[in-house]
C-alpha cells in the first residue's frame, strides 16, 4: 500500500485528553474554577448576591426578617429560615419547566440544612428569613455555589451569622478526582466499572471549622470519602478570600457617604 505523503499523520504516542480538563484545569488538584462574586445585585431585596464559577451562574436574594406565616411553638423562640432554589428553564441543556420539581425541592432542603447552622436564628424570634436562589446557568457544582452565594446574600442582608458558609464539590472518577466539576464532568462516567465513582458536596464554615452540609452519591470507599471531604474543605478555603473581598467591597460601598443632593 503506497504511503499517503499528503496526509499529516498524528504522533506515534498520544496523551489521553482526560489528563487535562477541557478548560485547562488539572485533575487531582484542588483547582477550582475562577470565581466572580458580587453582592447587592437586586436593590429591591434586603440582600442579594451573584456568583459565577466557570459557566455556572446563579443569583440569590434574601428577604426578611418578617413575620412568620406559620405560627407554632418553635417560631416563638427561634426564627425560621426558608429556602427556595429553582432552576431557570433555560439553565440546563434541556429546557426545564418553571414548576419546582422534586429535584429542586431536594436542593432547597440541602441548602436550608447547610445554611441553618450558620444563621443566628435565636436573634430573630417570631420571624422568617427567606432565601431564594435562581440558577441561571447550570454548569456543574450548582449546590456548592448556591450555598456560597446564599450565605453571601444573607451577610449582605445584614442577617446575623456565626460564619460564612462555603460550598465545594468534587467528582470522583476511579482513582482520580475533579474539584468543582462542570456539568459534563458531573454527568459523565467512564465506562470502566471501578469502585469509586461518585459526587460529593460539602458546605463548610471556615472560621469555626464545622461542616454544615454533606451529601454524596455514587459508590465510594470510606477512605475515598474521607479524602474527598478533606479536599472539599481545602477547596472551600481557596474560595474564602474571594468571598471575603466581595463582602468587604459591598460593605465599603454601603458605608460611603451618600452623594450630596
Amino acid at each position: 500500500m503506497p504511503t499517503d505523503t499528503k496526509r499529516v499523520r498524528g504522533p506515534e504516542v498520544s496523551q489521553s485528553p482526560s489528563l487535562f480538563l477541557p478548560d485547562g484545569r488539572q485533575r487531582d488538584q484542588v483547582d477550582v474554577r475562577p470565581v466572580f462574586v458580587r453582592c447587592g445585585l437586586v436593590s429591591q431585596a434586603k440582600g442579594s448576591a451573584y456568583i459565577e464559577a466557570g459557566n455556572t451562574k446563579l443569583m440569590c436574594c434574601v428577604y426578611g426578617p418578617k413575620e412568620t406565616e406559620r405560627k407554632d411553638e418553635t417560631d416563638m423562640k427561634c426564627g425560621r429560615l426558608t429556602t427556595d432554589m429553582r432552576f431557570a428553564p433555560f439553565s440546563c441543556p434541556e429546557r426545564g419547566s418553571w414548576i419546582q420539581g422534586s429535584q429542586d425541592k431536594d436542593f432547597s432542603l440541602m441548602l436550608q440544612e447547610s445554611l441553618q447552622p450558620a444563621v443566628c436564628l435565636h436573634k430573630y424570634p417570631r420571624s422568617q428569613i427567606e432565601v431564594n436562589v435562581m440558577v441561571l446557568e447550570n454548569s456543574g457544582s450548582v449546590l456548592a455555589h448556591a450555598v456560597t452565594c446564599a450565605s453571601l446574600a444573607l451577610a449582605d442582608a445584614g442577617i446575623e451569622m456565626y460564619d460564612l458558609v462555603l460550598g465545594c464539590s468534587i467528582r470522583q472518577d476511579g482513582a482520580s478526582y475533579v474539584v468543582d466539576p462542570t456539568y459534563t464532568e458531573q454527568n459523565s462516567c467512564s465506562s470502566v466499572s471501578s469502585e469509586n465513582q461518585g459526587g460529593l458536596t460539602v458546605a463548610f464554615l471556615p472560621s469555626l471549622n464545622q461542616i454544615s452540609g454533606l451529601q454524596s452519591d455514587g459508590e465510594m470507599t470510606e477512605e475515598t470519602l474521607t479524602a474527598g471531604v478533606r479536599t472539599c474543605i481545602e477547596g472551600c478555603y481557596k474560595l474564602y478570600p474571594v468571598v471575603q473581598q466581595a463582602l468587604t467591597k459591598a460593605v465599603r460601598r454601603a458605608a460611603l457617604p451618600p452623594p450630596e443632593s
Binding site: 422534586s102 429535584q103 425541592k105 431536594d106 432542603l109 440544612e113 441553618q116 447552622p117 450558620a118 466499572s193 469502585e195 465513582q197 461518585g198 460529593l200 464554615l205 469555626l208 471549622n209 464545622q210 461542616i211 454544615s212 452540609g213 454533606l214 451529601q215 454524596s216 452519591d217 455514587g218 459508590e219 465510594m220 470507599t221 470510606e222 470519602l225 474521607t226 471531604v229 478533606r230 474543605i233
Partner: protein
C-alpha cells in the same frame, strides 16, 4: 409521631447516659432495637416486606411494570421510589402534611440507588431501547418511632429479595413487530441479586458521641445526624447530613467509620434471615 417534645431534665438524663455508653432502653451506642422482618405480605405486589424496628413500622411493596427505558441508558431498566407518609403514622401527615417528608425520603432513596452496582439494572432490560421493567418501590410508613431511614432501607432490601419478576418471551410476529409474552407459570420468574443493595445507617450525634438507631427522644437531643448507606463490602453509596446543626470534620470521619462498621455487620444476619424465611415459605 414524627417528633416528640423532650424536657430539659430528660435531655440531660439522655445525654449523660449516652456519654457513659448506656441508653435509656439499655442498649449500647451501636446497637439496634429489636427488629422483625416479614416478607411476601401483600399478594397484589411482585415483592413486599414489612419491618418493625422498635415501634417504627414500614411496609414496602414492589410492583414490576413494563415501561420504556430512559433514552440515556437504553439497555437498562430503572427503579422508581415513592414514600407515602400516611396519616396512619401520625395525624400531622393528614392531607398534604406528609408530602414534605415523603419527598425528602424518596429523594434520598434515589441517591442511595444512584450507582451501577446496587441493583443489576441491565437484567431489567427486556428489549433494548423499547421495553424494560420498571420497579415501582412504594414505601408506606405505618408508624414512626425514629430511625425511618434505616427501617426503610432494610425493608426495601427485603422486598427486593422477595421480588419475583415474571419471565418474558419476545417473539416477532408476521409484520416484524415484537410481541412480549409473559410466562403463565407463577414459579417461572426472575429473581434479583440483592447482595449489593445497600442499607442505610443513621448516626445521631448526641453530645460528644454518636448513636445508631436513635429513638425519637434521642433524636430530639441531637444537633445533627449523618445518613450513610453501606453495601455488604463496606462501600459507601450515599452520605447526607440531616438535622439543623453542623458537625466538625473529625466527628464526620468518626461517624463514617462507625457507619461503615455497623452497616457491614448488618448485612450478613439480614441475608441469613431472608434466606431462612424464603426456605420456610417454600
Amino acid at each position: 409521631m414524627a417528633t416528640v417534645q423532650v424536657s430539659e431534665a430528660e435531655k440531660v438524663y439522655i445525654l449523660h447516659g449516652i456519654r457513659d455508653d448506656l441508653r435509656v432502653d439499655g442498649r449500647g451506642c451501636e446497637d439496634y432495637r429489636h427488629m422483625e422482618i416479614e416478607t411476601d405480605v401483600v399478594s397484589n405486589t411482585d415483592g413486599s416486606a414489612k419491618i418493625t424496628l422498635g415501634h417504627t413500622a414500614v411496609l414496602v411493596g414492589i410492583k414490576a411494570e413494563i415501561g420504556k427505558p430512559r433514552p440515556m441508558v437504553p439497555d437498562e431498566g430503572y427503579l422508581e421510589f415513592f414514600v407515602d407518609c400516611s396519616a396512619n403514622a401520625t395525624p400531622e401527615f393528614e392531607g398534604r402534611g406528609g408530602e414534605e417528608l415523603g419527598t425528602e425520603l424518596s429523594n434520598t432513596l434515589y441517591k442511595v440507588f444512584n450507582n451501577k452496582r446496587s441493583v443489576d439494572l441491565k437484567s431489567l432490560c427486556i428489549s433494548e431501547g423499547e421495553h424494560c421493567w420498571v420497579l415501582y418501590v412504594d414505601v408506606l410508613l405505618l408508624q414512626c418511632d425514629g430511625n425511618l431511614y434505616d427501617a426503610i432501607s432494610i425493608a426495601i432490601k427485603a422486598a427486593l429479595f422477595n421480588t419475583k419478576i415474571p419471565r418474558v418471551q419476545i417473539s416477532a410476529d408476521d409484520e416484524g413487530g415484537k410481541e412480549i409474552e409473559l410466562s403463565d407459570d407463577p414459579y417461572d420468574c426472575m429473581r434479583l441479586n440483592v447482595e449489593n443493595v445497600p442499607c442505610i445507617v443513621t448516626l445521631c450525634k448526641v453530645g460528644h458521641r454518636h448513636v445508631v438507631d436513635a429513638t425519637l427522644q434521642e433524636k430530639a437531643c441531637s444537633v445533627a445526624s449523618l445518613i450513610i448507606s453501606v453495601t455488604h463490602k463496606g462501600t459507601v453509596t450515599c452520605t447526607r447530613k440531616v438535622g439543623g446543626g453542623s458537625l466538625d470534620p473529625e466527628s464526620i470521619f468518626e461517624m463514617t467509620e462507625a457507619g461503615k462498621r455497623v452497616g457491614k455487620a448488618l448485612h450478613t444476619p439480614l441475608m441469613k434471615l431472608l434466606q431462612e424465611e424464603e426456605s420456610r415459605g417454600a
